[in-house]
């Protein structure tokens, strides 16, 4: 039955693609008051956030698959996938973490600015 269905479907084949978006200037490269540039940077930031969410989901799925495969000796054989999940979720939390529901590109940029400031302060403290 499956082959009959495949034969029916093979008569007119068509394809779908992944949409590739051009890179536009980022929010940090926009002049102040240039609302069009803000809009495009915002759209690009949202697309990037969706991509990052999918990346985290894929890594999580890999860890789940690994656990299912290995069974009782998962803690030893899956260390790489678990390490990868820890790194990816930490990175995601750092970048998009506590922005909340109304987080947009601007709040994310402010969060990045605060992170850089704290990093600089920590380095200055470590140098003393």
């Amino acid at each position: 039955v499956a082959e009959w269905i495949e034969r029916q479907q093979a008569k007119n084949k068509f394809y779908y693609y992944h949409q590739k978006f051009r890179r536009v200037p980022d929010l940090s490269e926009c002049m102040e008051g240039d609302y069009l540039c803000f809009f495009e940077a915002e759209a690009q930031w949202r697309r990037d956030r969706m991509v990052d969410q999918e990346i985290v989901a894929i890594v999580r799925e890999r860890v789940g698959a690994c656990q299912q495969r290995e069974g009782p000796n998962q803690y030893q054989n899956c260390a790489k996938e678990m390490e990868q999940l820890v790194q990816v979720t930490k990175a995601y939390q750092d970048k998009y973490g506590d922005l909340g529901v109304h987080g947009n590109a601007r709040t994310c940029l402010m969060k990045q600015k605060h992170r850089m400031m704290e990093e600089r302060k920590a380095q200055a403290n470590a140098d003393e």
């Binding site: 269905i5 029916q8 479907q9 394809y15 779908y16 693609y17 992944h18 809009f39």
Partner: protein
Amino acid sequence: PIRHSSHGKRMFIIKATRFYDARFLNLLRFYIFLTGIPVAVFITYVNIFIGEAELAEIPEGYVPEYWEYYKHPISRWIARYLLDPPEKNYEKAMALLDVEAKKTELRLMELEARRLMRARGDGPWYHYETPDKNLTDDSMKATPDN
């Protein structure tokens, strides 16, 4: 009842009516299946005979149409004939933002011009009518406080 059972007399069991409930459920099933079955048949036809799209790399030098980014044939059809291309929505939003940005800019400039003309007094705005110079009487008065 009397013949096949060995005990018990016939009872007339008094229950609450189930006529309205049965009628409601029958009508509900009828109206749901009236459009539900054709829709289900159509969707199975599309899934079996037309089939979903396959994921492929974008060929060189080819720009896919905006409806070629969907997998299921019905969503492709809807995107092609019923919805506007997302580029059009994007451009419409950008046009609105542009108009509003120009409006805010003009309003800010008008406020600035008004402030400067009121402060400096050398512009066409803020002219107030004063009484005629020739109506003033400069002759000596009887009391000093006139």
